[in-house]
């Protein structure tokens, strides 16, 4: 999955731009952007962002909360459904507990 920049949060500090291994990030209107075709999906931008403005794991990987294959409904997740919103840190796999 290609990481997603939360432009409402991003303050344009540019740390991700410096740390991106293939150097495919930059700033547009002082917000981080990713050249998605060249992105290697390594997740380093997400890891280094000091304000967690880059989402690397969407809630349920962008799939609706109720999955057709399950006879038992999925448990409520912190932020199900709308994958454009991203997911807060903590449970549901946003990454390491910090």
């Amino acid at each position: 999955m290609i990481p997603k920049v939360d432009v409402f949060k991003c303050d344009g500090c540019g740390i991700c731009v410096k740390r991106c291994p293939p150097q495919v990030m930059g700033l547009v209107q002082n917000r981080a952007v990713i050249l998605v075709d060249l992105c290697e999906e390594c997740g380093i931008c997400h890891e280094v962002c000091p304000i967690h403005a880059i989402h690397f794991r969407l809630p349920n990987q962008g799939v609706a909360a109720m999955h057709e294959s399950y006879t038992v409904p999925r448990q409520a997740t912190p932020n199900p459904g709308n994958w454009t919103v991203g997911v807060p840190l903590g449970r549901d796999g946003a990454g390491h507990y910090k």
Partner: protein
């Protein structure tokens, strides 16, 4: 009889684990994928991936490890699936159904990550409080007697759910630093109660789980267990080899039908699965285990068995029963069928680059250098099961037969386009072919070059070697699509860079010229490290690397960089850190460092900072540019660029 059966009669002979009969001796070994939902449910992506593995023709397909406890203590990866509750069974059943559809045996792995687990909670568990060596992981909390008993019970319940989900066998993971191995190893188990102490006590947790599962599943259900035959932790007080062998015998006595032999922990300071480890070099462990166990207990092994000839020889000699393939089958799930049909050259070769592991440790999805379709098996446009034929065939001209160019050309031709690839030099493969001259198993890179060449040829790509393309030719070309994949070369705009003593690292690694005795390498990336390693293996030189930052190679995979750095140290390679070269003279290089200017003397200055070659891209509007010609990066980027462009052509 198929060609593969003739060539590898033992690999393709039926095998047996307990009462389970398997059609051949190939087992897809378990690996995490991070494809699943964060709460432990199986995702469509995972099912498609497992189906691809079963469709490839292996006799047994193992799922990724499923954690057994409901709190997530055992969860070591964000996308790990769970077997802690009955509500996960429908999802797991989808996997076993997908595997059975293609005639393979489905095996489910139970895995409690122990000291490297607890990814979504604020603690990890282990037998004793022993600090982690790798900074990513946290120190564990000691498990109480109740915790241990609960954990054993959870494993047993996991095995019951495994049967209910339709799997043919259950596998227990006790390797590389997960909970079972934490208990077994004298490095992490400092307990004084019955779960610690001597080797029998340390193995009690494992034997309790195996015998508990045996009691639950009945005598006929196969139980496989993965255990270390050598922890390679002797420097930190790990188990001795005899102790590890003793543990394996105890597992057999407790009721295991198959021993999957492994070597090393994540914390071991020895190369275990990287390229510098020769293929088949761990088979002596399998042999040792085979000799120690009863004949009806099967022995299997993964670990650098990338080519079928190694397991074939070992099985024929009675040293091994099953060939486990993990990374080779991540790179190409169709490996068994391709071997069977005598199409071994068409196997997508794993380069042991370990990008798959690097991604897992960054909480990213599994990723592969040589197969960008990984995780997109169900998406037709990624062409894992063949690319759709185009309705209007185009004439495509690709300039540069490096990895990116050949990958794009192969896909475009498979889709039905008419492709020509022009190459300036007289051999194919570009930088990768040159890099294959490097030491420590880098000659394996030629496998990728040869595979891409064959794929291009099979698809009908025309190659023109020894042809230098000019901007005029591009302007006048009648091709519908032109792709510039001219790669990168080391250049420098420093004053004096055109001197006689300044050479390109590509010429040096290609063996075209011999540098002087005192050498300065200018470059901060992996290329500079590769040049230094090549020189260390090919003569006596005094080498200095001048690089930006604290260490060279920020682009190198973490599972390789520590090894390279120690090799540079052994070879007494000097480094000038935080340094920017200012001027090159006949005598050496003037550099600017954090503590003032410095002059580094040298007979030869090797340029090892790559710069893109993309002047042909400017010759005409509307043409494409891929690979290092955009930004110089690593080999995986070249394959990915070529693949993505090929999909679009």
């Amino acid at each position: 009889m198929k060609p593969g059966e003739k060539k590898y009669p033992h690999v393709f002979s039926p095998g047996k684990i307990g009462k389970m009969e398997v059609k051949n001796r190939i087992k897809y070994a378990s690996t995490e994928t991070n494809f699943n939902y964060g709460d432990g449910y199986v995702s469509d992506k995972e099912v498609a991936y497992m189906e691809a593995q079963a469709r490839g023709g292996s006799g047994m397909v193992t799922t990724q490890g499923a954690y057994t406890d409901p709190h997530g203590e055992g969860q070591g990866y964000v996308g790990m699936m769970s077997i802690a509750d009955d509500r996960f069974i429908p999802g797991l059943r989808r996997i076993s159904d997908a595997i059975h559809k293609h005639g393979a045996k489905a095996v489910l792995q139970l895995m409690h990550c122990g000291r490297v687990g607890g990814i979504n909670i604020d603690y990890t568990v282990g037998p004793s409080v022993v600090k982690q060596r790798i900074p990513r992981f946290r120190e564990p909390v000691e498990m109480s007697r109740e915790d241990i008993e609960r954990s054993i019970d959870e494993h047993v319940k996991g095995a019951r759910r495994c049967i209910e989900s339709g799997f043919d066998a259950v596998e227990i993971s006790g390797i590389v630093g997960y909970l079972l191995s934490n208990f077994i190893s004298s490095y992490t188990n400092l307990r004084s109660d019955e779960y610690g102490g001597d080797i029998k006590g340390r193995a009690k947790f494992m034997t309790d789980i195996v015998s508990g599962i045996r009691g639950e599943v009945g005598p006929d259900y196969p139980i496989i267990i993965r255990l270390c035959a050598d922890e390679l932790l002797q420097d930190r007080g790990g188990n001795k080899e005899e102790e590890s062998l003793e543990v394996i015998k105890l597992a057999e006595a407790a009721g295991a039908d198959c021993l999957s032999v492994t070597a090393g922990w994540q914390e071991s300071a020895v190369s275990v699965i990287s390229r510098d480890c020769r293929m088949g070099s761990w088979l002596y462990l399998a042999k040792r285990v085979r000799e120690a166990l009863k004949p009806e207990t099967a022995v299997s092994m993964a670990y650098r068995l990338f080519l079928a000839e190694y397991p074939e020889r070992a099985i024929a000699a009675g040293e091994l029963d099953f060939w486990e393939a993990c990374r080779p089958m991540i790179a190409d799930p169709n490996l068994p069928n391709k071997i069977l049909e005598g199409r071994e050259d068409e196997i997508i070769p794993c380069m042991a680059c370990n990008i798959c592991l690097a991604r897992l440790f960054r909480d990213a999805e599994l990723n592969c250098m040589v197969r960008p379709s990984l995780g997109h098996e169900s998406e037709a446009e990624y062409g894992f099961y063949g690319f759709p034929k185009t309705s209007h065939s185009k004439k495509i001209w690709i300039i540069g037969a490096g990895v990116a160019g050949m990958q794009a050309g192969a896909i475009a031709a498979e889709k039905g386009h008419r492709v020509t690839i022009s190459e300036k030099s007289d051999k194919l493969g570009g930088q990768l072919a040159i890099a294959s001259n490097g030491p420590w198993g880098d000659n394996e890179f030629m496998r990728l070059v040869n595979y891409l060449k064959l794929r291009c040829e099979n698809a009908g790509v025309e190659f023109e070697t020894g042809k230098t393309v000019t901007a005029e030719e591009i302007k006048e070309s009648t091709a519908d699509e032109i792709v510039v994949a001219t790669g990168a070369i080391p250049t420098s705009e420093l004053p004096g860079a055109d001197g006689d003593s300044v050479v390109s690292c590509l010429d040096v690694i290609d063996g075209k010229l011999k540098p002087g005795k005192n050498i300065v390498i200018l470059g901060s990336g992996g290329v500079a490290i590769a040049t230094a390693l090549y020189l260390l293996e090919n003569g006596e030189y005094n080498i200095t690397i001048v690089h930006l930052g604290r260490k060279p190679g920020p682009d190198v995979n973490p599972s390789y960089i520590w090894r390279y750095m120690s090799k540079l140290k052994e070879g007494k390679v000097a480094r000038v850190a935080f340094a920017r070269p200012e001027k090159i003279t006949d005598k050496g290089v003037q550099v600017k460092t954090a503590d003032g200017d410095k002059f580094v003397e040298a007979d030869t200055v090797i340029l090892a900072q790559m710069h893109p070659v993309n002047d042909l891209f400017k010759a005409r509007k509307g043409i494409s540019l891929i690979g290092d010609a955009i930004i110089p990066r690593r080999g995986n980027s070249a394959v990915l660029d070529g693949y993505k462009l090929g999909m679009r052509l």
